[in-house]
Amino acid sequence: MKTWLTTTALALSLAMPAIAQDYQPDPNAKAGGSIVITYKDDVATLDPAIGYDWQNWSMIKSIFDGLMDYAPGTTELRPGLAESYDISDDGQVFTFHLRPGVKFHNGREVTADDVKYSLDRVTNPATQSPGAGFFGSIKGYDEIASGASETLAGVTVVDPMTVQIELSRPDATFLHVMALNFASVVPQEAVEAAGADFGKQPVGTGAYSLAEWTIGQRLVFAKNADYWRDGVPYLDEIVFEVGQEPIVALLRLQNGEVDVPGDGIPPAKFQEVMADPEQAARVVEGGQLHTGYITMNVNTAPFDNVKVRQAVNMAINKDRIVQIINGRAVPANQPLPPSMPGYTEGYEGYAFDPEGAKTLLAEAGVGDGFETELYVMNTDPNPRIAQAIQQDLSAIGISAQIQSLAQANVIEAGGNGSAPMIWSGGMAWIADFPDPSNFYGPILGCAGAVQGGWNWSWYCNEDLDAKATEADSMADPSQAEARLKLWSDVYVGIMADAPWAPVFNEQRYTMKSARMGGADELYVDPVSIPVNYDYVYVTE
């Protein structure tokens, strides 16, 4: 505890990365009870190395812990299985001191060997983890990724309670990476016993353990009575009922059978729910680290002309699009969402100005307009949004044909460069962790502008790429402010080139039953969607 206080007091005061004053437990919270959460889709897996959709993300968080964690309801880091850590002066060596006496659900105590095993496992190509790339800054990553080594050279077990991680380059986001589910600590014996089925028989250290999984029907989480955080969780049991259409889940909630519909309020029912004061009072609204945008392929004429891209930015009536989705979003003028550090306050972006847009098109030599295609995912409300975009574009002479396809097909068209324009709805970037760097590399940086990548604009500005690299190497907490400024410059620089037309930042609406207790923040937790299972409780 001493090292934690002395070495990180500085970081704490500079709030970079922001370290939370730990969460104050709710004095009104009551222990006990069981709640029902519904989902449309079956849960794919609970293996923390594999699970990477918003549905299993929060479930995995409740079964497993990593060295770092976030204070409930916030984007602020707090220590998890690591009681404290030290950072070397050059920012490249992290020493984590484990919390003694933490036990896996199978009763065995967690040691530094488990941390090393877990990191080796997630980066080993045989695990097929979608998150392996997050650990690229750890020394020895390239060797394990290419199969030349079975273990990460940079991760050393100092003693049973201490693990040291050496990086090959400074990485300002490393503590966030250690808070990702992919960095969860798993027991080797349980992983090996279950083999490929570990995702169905998870064993972790988390607040809940998996008590039952009837495929296609339900999962039951039981309270971990030995959980290392005092006082939580409150609930004895959480029942996840899967295979429930959102509309049916809402009916069941209104009937008192469901506590939280995991897929949210169906768009078609949103106005009806919000018009009823009794129901609207049980809806919690919050921001999320999400931006919805239109990409323009800079390799495809006429979008290779920056004036055309700027014209599109000026042609879109964002307020009207927000209305189309019942006001469940705020208009956006830059890639980063407002709740993300590095967001540029006061930046105006491109105002809605169809006449100015026409002038720009004329200057670009396409004053008579042109024909193009707008790709969109085929689930509501995205086709409706695409139609609004189509109308806005036709007002300045651009005739966009809508290609409404399944999600996987749109992703493919974006990744192989065949789509001139894409509306990102349903596939938009939602941050993995609350840091501006997470909105750059794969979707706006040169690294993502490759076959099968996610940079659907194919935008690659090498100057900005260099700035981004520089920002991410500013690992020293004292540089935090300068780093955010640099990131802000990067995003403003991107908007000058206008590879995207940012449209809106979606708000989140979580509906709950009358008996659910706990602060509103827990119901729009930026990390745990739909709710932070460890801290909510029932009042009856």
Partner: protein, 306 residues
């Protein structure tokens, strides 16, 4: 007769092989890459390449299909790309629910269809006949998605007679089975009606009436069994229609069957599951048709199989 069935079974196997090939081709040329679904948006190019290689998806089509067939022969349907669970396990754990629902659906469509058909035939040309035939027309045309939501809203939400979706008890089965049954009942009532009318016109019915049997006895003992036989033989063919209905009905009612499994797998491009469910459904349809052929000569000795 034995030769006929051996030939039919061989034909069926060839049909299944053909279906597996066509499905595999369709999934192969699909403009969506399953590896990208597995790898997610943060994966590096190297991770994507690793996963592609491990799943054998970097191999040419013929090698991939050959490997799949080799597994199939050993009863191995492969593992789900995203869940990592064996497809056979996933299907086996969901099949009982689908079979229950189908049994319930068949029962519903027979009960509704046959009784409507008989009544309409007996009241031919009158009000009851017209009402029932219009009803059956609506039943055939109504989309199952709408029917299921309507039933759910009226009988579960408003009246509270049945649970709102889910699985487990008999009460849970009623509404989804009814939804499935309503579609078929429309066909059955129309066919039952014409079959019944035909039988009522035959000489032996006239003879039965002439020798003084009561109207009820004539209908129940003489007309009905003869009219019903050709219709029963159709149930086997019905299984194919039911398989399609399962996808919709199971999704709406949260019924944990293979229809729901297929729907979720399609959205996630989880090819091994899509293949597995397609093959199991194809098997069911082929078996249903075989069964119909088996039953036909037992019901009507005039039918000879060669």
């Amino acid at each position: 007769m034995a030769a006929y069935f051996i030939r039919r079974i061989v034909q069926s196997l060839l049909i299944l092989l053909g279906i597996s090939f066509v499905t595999f081709v369709l999934l192969y040329i699909l403009p969506a890459d399953p590896v990208r679904q597995i790898a997610g948006r943060s994966a590096t190019a190297q991770t994507v390449a690793n996963i592609r290689e491990q799943l054998g998806l970097d191999q040419p089509f013929i090698v991939q299909y050959g490997r799949y067939l080799a597994g199939l022969v050993q009863g191995d349907l492969g593992r789900s790309y995203l869940q990592k669970t064996e497809v056979a396990t996933l299907i086996a754990s969901r099949l009982p629910a689908s079979l229950q629902l189908m049994a319930g659906g068949i029962l519903c469509e027979l009960l509704i269809g046959l009784s409507f058909g008989v009544i309409a035939a007996l009241r031919r040309g009158r009000m009851a006949d017209q009402v029932l035939m219009i009803t059956s027309f609506v039943a055939v045309s109504a989309p199952q998605f709408v029917v299921s939501l309507l039933l759910l809203y009226v009988f579960a939400v408003k009246l509270g007679w049945f649970p709102i979706g889910g699985y487990g008890t008999f009460a849970h089965l009623v509404l989804p089975a009814l939804t499935l049954g309503i579609l078929g009942s429309g066909w059955y009532s129309r066919m039952m009606r014409s079959s019944m009318i035909e039988v009522l016109r035959t000489d032996y019915i006239r003879t039965a009436r002439a020798k003084g049997l009561s109207r009820a006895r004539v209908i129940l003992r003489h007309a009905l069994p003869n009219a019903i036989l050709p219709i029963i033989a159709m149930i086997g063919i019905d299984i194919g229609i039911f398989m399609g209905g399962l996808v919709v009905v199971e999704s709406v009612f949260g019924w944990p069957g293979i229809g729901q499994l297929a729907w979720q797998a399609i959205q996630r491009v989880d090819i091994p599951i899509i293949m597995g469910v397609t093959l199991v459904s194809a098997c069911a349809i082929v078996l249903g048709n075989l069964l119909a052929d088996f039953i036909a000569p037992l019901i009507d000795p005039r039918i000879r199989l060669r």
